[in-house]
């Protein structure tokens, strides 16, 4: 069954690029929802059926780490998997994201081929 995806990134350009990359990769997904930061994402997750979240880390209002922490405190959504897509590559911050439940990370910039390779098995 096709999975619904939530993209969280403060850049609308980046959301469009990721969305396009998913389509180009021929992945079988359902709806693609978008949020500009962690706060918007939490609201959306409470109201829509989302199967996987692709999230940036550096964002205003609520960043990706804060989002993971807050999501983990909400029983209704805490088990939805989150994959990080960010310019952040340091072991410390990616390690913290994984400790908070992130299932993996993809570095920006990325090619469509990399998106297909990394996200294909998840979607």
């Amino acid at each position: 069954m096709a999975k619904n995806v939530l993209l969280i990134d403060d850049s609308s350009t980046m959301r469009k690029i990721i969305s396009r990359s998913l389509r180009q990769a021929g992945l079988d997904f359902g709806e693609i929802y978008e949020a500009g930061d962690g706060l918007e994402a939490l609201t959306l997750l409470e109201n829509e059926k989302v199967d996987i979240v692709l999230s940036d880390i550096n964002m205003p209002n609520m960043n990706g780490i804060e989002f993971l922490r807050e999501k983990g405190n909400r029983p209704a959504i805490k088990d939805i998997p989150v994959f990080m897509i960010s310019t952040e590559t340091g072991d410390d911050i990616i390690g913290e994201a994984k400790t908070l439940g992130a299932i993996g990370a993809l570095k920006k910039p990325f090619t469509p081929e990399k998106v297909s390779e990394v996200l294909g098995p998840l979607i």
């Binding site: 350009t13 690029i17 205003p60 340091g90 990325f110 090619t111």
Partner: protein, 151 residues
């Protein structure tokens, strides 16, 4: 430390991965040529290197970069251009962060800000070093600059 080369490598990686436009860094003497920017994206850096990274673009280059990123023709300097150039600055700064980390220098990135207009003057930190790299594209030149203090 070869900070200028880090900027070149980071910018080339961003374009080769995500922006299908041919770019080429120009020799250092070309960097002295005035680039009249219409769009400037700035991102603050803190940590072992403190300062600001700026991507300056004239309008035709900003529009071509935005068009290439979005896969549609951008014709005016609007919110899409502001957002796209901000993301370019963010990713170049991310590449710089990786290169510095390999040298044992740790930095943090702020959120990028993009200004549209010609009457922009950026003030630097007292005692900061400055470096800039000019890149040629089919639409003209753009410029990646770094004003910084390295601990």
């Amino acid at each position: 430390m070869e900070v200028e080369q880090f900027l070149v490598d980071a910018t080339l990686e961003v374009f080769s991965s995500m922006i299908p436009i041919d770019i080429a860094p120009e020799p250092a003497e070309c960097a002295a040529l005035a680039v009249e920017p219409d769009v400037s994206s700035l991102i603050g850096l803190a940590g072992d290197l403190t300062g600001v990274l700026i991507v300056h673009c004239p309008a035709p280059v900003a529009l071509s970069i935005t068009s290439a990123m979005l896969g549609l023709e951008a014709t005016t300097l609007d919110e899409d251009v502001r957002d796209a150039l901000g993301e370019v600055a963010n990713m170049v700064a991310g590449g710089l962060k990786v290169s510095l980390a390999e040298k044992g220098k740790k930095i943090e990135l702020a959120i990028a800000t993009t200004c549209i207009g010609k009457a922009i003057r950026t003030g630097g930190l007292a005692g900061a070093a400055r470096t800039a790299v000019t890149f040629a594209t089919p639409s003209g030149r753009f410029w990646v600059a770094l004003c910084y203090i390295l601990k």
